[in-house]
């Protein structure tokens, strides 16, 4: 064997170790779009919150606070659903291009390691709404989402862990500025997604 063969062996070993443990067909565009949905959702929420802030205390106030809660949950739910559907469609397309299977051991591990911290955070956030601790919702969502990303990064592009860490840091910082949750929420779920999605798009998608 020549030197070239040995080098080829090593790169083949690395390649297979990566492909057998990591799902790498993440789509950059879906990240950008998720960020855009979050910004639009955040803007609508902001409008609702300022309108509600102008209401006088009284009967309409009591009933509209319940409506507001439902509306905000609905907006967050819509943003999340749209993001997941977009990510699924675009990732599937990319997986087909890359000749990578959508449903493989690596993608299953990715999903499980992502969903468990995320679902915990989601339920925790709903319980906060139930208890009326609204100010803590945005930090909670950011922190749990960041931990979910960090946890899942073992099974996909390793740079996802930096996005996760940034979300966690943002969530912790937002604890110091309670009452500005929406701003941090839009920064974390909107701006960071757009930046990270664009980086992936430039680095990985465009090359193909």
């Amino acid at each position: 064997m020549t030197e070239k063969d040995y080098l080829k062996d090593i790169s083949e070993i690395k390649n297979i170790m990566n492909r057998s443990t990591r799902f790498l067909s993440l789509s950059g565009i879906s990240g950008i779009l998720a960020g855009v949905y979050a910004l639009i959702g955040g803007a609508i929420a902001y409008k609702l919150l300022t309108d509600y802030g102008r209401l006088e205390r009284g009967e309409t106030y009591e009933s509209s606070i319940l409506n507001l809660e439902l509306m905000l949950i609905l907006i967050a739910g819509t943003v999340a659903t749209l993001s997941v559907v977009t990510a699924y469609v675009l990732t599937k397309r990319k997986a087909v291009q890359n000749n990578e299977k959508m449903w493989a051991p690596a993608s299953r591990q990715l999903l499980v390691s992502f969903i468990i911290p995320l679902a915990t955070g989601g339920i925790f956030a709903l319980l906060l709404i139930y208890r009326g601790d609204y100010a803590l919702i945005a930090p909670t969502m950011l922190i749990f989402y960041g931990l979910a990303l960090f946890n899942a990064s073992k099974f996909t592009l390793s740079t996802v862990k930096y996005l996760g860490l940034l979300e966690v840091v943002l969530g912790l910082v937002s604890m110091l500025f309670l009452g500005n949750g929406l701003f941090f929420w839009m920064l974390g779920f909107g701006v960071l997604h757009i930046i990270y999605g664009a980086l992936i798009y430039i680095k990985l998608d465009k090359k193909r």
């Binding site: 040995y6 299977k101 051991p105």
Partner: protein, 99 residues
């Protein structure tokens, strides 16, 4: 140089066996079909290389049923993992020496 060459394991001197070991090293176990897709080889080809690795006790085989479908899973043995690590170390050493 001679002692390093000694650590180059002849059993791993094939793309498919190298691939099988690489996949098994980083997973608790991998089933037959996943290996097949990962390495892009035919059933027969993969089976014969798995047999060869099994014969030297570098990997173990577990057969089970998912519903009615048989599912064969493979994992490395301690000996196999040790041998593969030595092999990689030897490869790296040779590459470094030649540079």
């Amino acid at each position: 140089m001679h002692s390093i060459i000694k650590n180059i394991n002849k059993i791993f001197d094939h793309r498919v066996r190298l691939g099988i070991m690489s996949a098994l090293m980083v997973n608790d176990f991998v089933d037959f079909n996943t290996l097949k897709e990962l390495l892009e080889v035919t059933d027969g080809n993969l089976a014969s290389h798995l047999k060869a690795l099994e014969k030297v006790a570098y990997i173990t085989v577990t057969k089970e049923f998912i519903g009615r479908k048989p599912n064969t899973k493979y994992s490395t043995t301690a000996i196999g993992a040790e041998a593969f690590k030595k092999h990689i170390a030897a490869l790296e050493k040779i590459i470094r020496m030649q540079q």
